[in-house]
């Protein structure tokens, strides 16, 4: 033990030395910008115009402006719809359905379906946007398929922009939930299910009364995690619809980008980031809380 100690020295000092590159990087590029977000939200910083050379502290002006800005309201509503439909419901349902139905199926079938779902996940976001742009276009695949049923071509991205990006994001993200639910379902003890079966519970009752309560913890954790990932989605929507037409698919990240980098209102853009960040912080606290209580 004495030898051990002399090799290690003071563990706190050692930990600090070992961790210092990580601490420097995180302070500079993550913590720093978070603190800057809070500060700059209260300034009139801009890239062009008078305010560009003369950044001033303007108190809560950005926030009063924000809460009176109908575009902000629209983007908040769009963000909520996007999060709930795509992350909380869509990806969970598809991911669980695939994982659940795949249980005890033949290996080649399992892996083929798993691979197809994973293909959507590993495809880079910008490519996902292109292939779906083609898929949903006037002469695209979806309209071709619907044409067989006699349905006239629909300009999906113009007529249903928000629903379109919700579906595309489900397609892109569902594999993550599938993997999570597969892991959770594998942990369900077989004896419990067998016992329920012997007691006369049908498949539906076994799912509701036995399986789901056991994987509830995993489901909630996964839901929060996917919602966090979906909150930051920018590329997919930016490349597919640009937030439009009008503001029909503008979520908070798109609105932030428009204000900061298209309208050059960095102060206002940062105030919007702060809202995004606060939602992220709340969800992230929720996430570690669930992890903590489960351990």
């Amino acid at each position: 033990m004495a030898k051990h100690k002399s090799i290690n020295g003071n563990p706190y000092l050692r930990a600090l030395i070992f961790g210092s590159p990580a601490i420097v990087l995180l302070l500079l590029f993550v913590m720093g910008p978070i603190i800057m977000t809070i500060y700059f939200s209260f300034t009139n910083m801009a890239l062009t115009g008078e305010a560009a050379n003369n950044t001033q502290f303007i108190g809560f002006d950005n926030f009063t402006r924000m809460f009176n800005d109908p575009s902000f309201k629209t983007s908040i509503i769009n963000t909520l719809i996007f999060l709930i439909c795509s992350a909380v419901i869509g990806q969970q349902l598809v991911g669980f359905l695939v994982a659940f139905l795949m249980k005890k199926k033949a290996k080649p079938f399992r892996s083929t379906i798993g691979l197809l779902v994973l293909a959507g996940w590993i495809t880079p976001e910008i490519v996902v946007a292109f292939v779906w742009f083609a898929f949903l276009s006037d002469q695209g695949t979806l309209n071709t398929i619907l044409g067989f049923a006699g349905i006239e071509p629909i300009a999906w991205l113009l007529k249903f922009p928000l629903i379109s990006v919700i579906f595309v994001n489900i397609w892109h993200g569902a594999a993550f939930s599938m993997l999570m639910y597969q892991a959770a379902l594998d942990d369900v003890p077989q004896e419990v299910e067998e016992a329920a079966k012997i007691d006369g519970a049908n498949a539906w009752q076994r799912l509701w009364r036995v399986t789901l309560p056991i994987i509830k913890g995993a489901a909630v954790t996964n839901m929060v995690l996917v919602t966090l990932q979906t909150l930051g989605v920018f590329t997919l929507i930016f490349a597919l619809t640009g937030g439009g037409p009008g503001e029909k698919s503008t979520t908070l990240p798109l609105f932030m980008y428009d204000q900061a980098f298209v309208n050059y209102q960095l102060g206002y853009g940062t105030a919007i980031s702060l809202v995004l960040l606060l939602i992220g912080i709340a969800l992230s606290l929720l996430y570690i809380r669930f992890l903590k209580t489960d351990d």
Binding site: K3, H4, I7, P11, R14, A15, G19, P21, A22, L25, L26, F29, V30, G32, P33, I34, M45, L97, V98, L101, M102, K105, I113, V117, G120, I122, T123, P124, I126, V127, F130, V131, A134, F135, S137, D138, Q139, G140, T141, W171, M180, A218, N222, L225, L228, G232, F234, A239, M256, L266, S273, L277, G280, I281, S284, Y287, I288, L291, K292, D295
Partner: protein, 275 residues
């Protein structure tokens, strides 16, 4: 009764097959159009099969440079991340520190934050320090933004290496650093590859970060040039766009298959699935 039972067995297969097809069909366009001399947005078997889209793309010096920059950013950031996160994760796994749990929770908390939310101040930071348009600084930022999750994964992988192996190395006179390099690193290969592949893929596919932080056209990585290519020639060159998308996706597919056996391990250790 008999047919009902049969339907019940068949139903999962039918549903799964439909889902599988739905996941595959959008990708088919990319495959067909990239070999089509007259590609449109419609999905069709190439009437005139051609490799022109591919050869034109792969002989364009601008596009090759964009790929090289993409490799530089992704490889640089992932190698740095592996090194830095392994160093930081080691004491978190091995030492008895008083506030270890709070540190680990803080790291997990940070890994959940959407990095999109801090891009505006990061841009301001880059302008302030004159790092704007710098590939090195962009690479550092990509590393830093992946660090929390990287440290968390690494810590779990180090946890799985028995401490007794290391102690015998110390008794033989090795220092902690030598032990880390000679004992832990070889056993950690799966962990290191998982983190490396995971962060490489993330950086490779990242559009938003270079889009905001890099301005010079000749410094843009493939993730952004592909978007500009679409904006400039989109209406005409669908075949080339499809080929570009394809080439850009290939490294990710290869890495996925290389890392698959490690990845599943990473997933069960990733913690989130432990819920």
């Amino acid at each position: 009764m008999f047919s009902k039972k049969r339907l019940q067995t068949a139903l999962p297969y039918i549903i799964l097959t439909i889902i599988g097809i739905m996941f595959f069909i959008p990708l088919l366009w990319m495959l067909f159009a990239s070999f089509d001399a007259h590609a449109t947005l419609s999905i069709e078997w190439p009437e005139e099969f051609t490799l022109d889209n591919w050869t034109q793309l792969l002989t364009d010096p601008d596009i090759l440079r964009a790929f090289a920059i993409g490799v530089f950013l992704s490889l640089g950031s992932s190698l740095l991340l592996v090194f830095v996160s392994a160093l930081a994760a080691y004491p978190l796994s091995r030492y008895h520190l008083k506030h270890k749990n709070s540190i680990i929770l803080t790291i997990l908390f940070m890994s959940g934050l959407p990095m999109t939310a801090i891009m505006v101040p990061v841009y301001q930071l880059f302008v302030f320090f004159n790092l704007n348009d710098s590939l090195i600084a962009t690479m550092l930022f990509l590393s830093a933004s992946g660090l929390p999750y990287g440290i968390w994964l690494m810590k779990n992988f180090i946890d799985s290496v028995p401490v007794t192996l290391e102690e015998s190395a110390w008794i033989d006179g090795a220092s902690v650093l030598v032990g880390l390099r000679k004992v832990i690193a070889p056993l950690m290969k799966p962990g290191i590859f998982t983190v490396l592949i995971f962060t490489f893929t993330n950086s490779w596919g990242n559009f938003f970060v270079p889009f905001i932080l890099i301005q010079s056209v000749e410094k843009l990585p493939a993730s952004v040039t592909i978007f500009q290519f679409f904006g400039q020639h989109g209406m005409v060159f669908y075949g080339q766009l499809a080929a570009f998308s394809f080439v850009y996706t290939i490294p990710v597919i290869i890495l996925y298959f290389m890392g698959q056996k490690y990845m599943s391990q990473g997933f069960s250790l990733g913690g989130a699935s432990k819920g």
